[in-house]
């Protein structure tokens, strides 16, 4: 039997977020909502949620191969093979580079200034990578396009 319980009325915030995502606000209200999104994370997430629904609603329908693909992705064997593959690849690549780097730094024939410069280059690269990764992780919840399939 179908549940006949009526859905709760949307709150003011939900209505505002829906109107913003659907582009139904006038310019002033839109600007205010956009400004609020910069300081109110919960509101910004709500807007991103409605935008995501909008984006996924107009993308292509599911194809038979999508079902097969999803099934394969969920198979324990496939997951194990992928996980093991990534683990060994990462271990091999990171380990090799770390070892090479360590041997290079330990090399008594290598000039000290060159060691410092090499350490600086590697450290700088890691810091920049960390900054880019941090930015991506911060904006990920507000990116509705990650759910688009085709």
């Amino acid at each position: 039997m179908t549940d006949q319980t009526p859905l709760p009325e949307p709150t003011e915030d939900e209505l505002l977020a829906m109107a913003y995502a659907d582009g139904e606000l006038n310019e002033e209200a839109r600007r205010e909502a956009a400004h609020r999104m910069t300081s109110d994370d919960a509101f910004a997430l709500r807007v991103a949620h409605y935008q995501r629904l909008d984006v996924t609603a107009r993308t292509a329908a599911i194809e038979p191969q999508d079902i097969a693909h999803a099934k394969l992705e969920a198979e324990p064997t496939q997951r194990a093979v992928l996980s093991l593959g990534w683990l060994t690849l990462t271990l091999g690549v990171v380990g090799s580079y770390a070892w090479l780097f360590y041997e290079m730094i330990r090399d008594p024939e290598m000039a000290i200034p060159l060691k410092v410069l090499t350490l600086s280059a590697v450290g700088g690269f890691l810091l920049l990578f960390l900054a880019v990764l941090r930015k991506r992780l911060r904006e990920l919840p507000y990116d509705p396009y990650t759910k688009v399939q085709r």
């Binding site: 582009g23 984006v55 107009r58 993308t59 292509a60 191969q65 693909h69 990534w86 690849l89 396009y145 990650t146 688009v148 399939q149 085709r150």
Partner: protein, 104 residues
Amino acid sequence: MIVTTCDTVPGQEIEAAVGICRGSAIRARHVGKDILAGLKNIVGGEMHEYSKLLAETREQALDRMIEDARAQGADAVVAVRYASTAISQGAAEFLAYGTAVKLK
């Protein structure tokens, strides 16, 4: 917002052309997806990783174009076109553009 590739909006009359509206986006997948897509080159078949990348970029460019039209006070966008180019390896760039119009 009506968005169409036609030069007119069927069944409606255009009052005025507001201007060109455009939206572009460039996106990339992470290196893991690039590696898997590279392996697909060996076995063949659809590169889901890149199909998804193109779709994400296309939708984002389209949304930015609509946003631009809305900011110009338009009711519809006609003559919508897509253009694509390659700026960076492994990234997809899309430009969506059209004419923002006001309807009667």
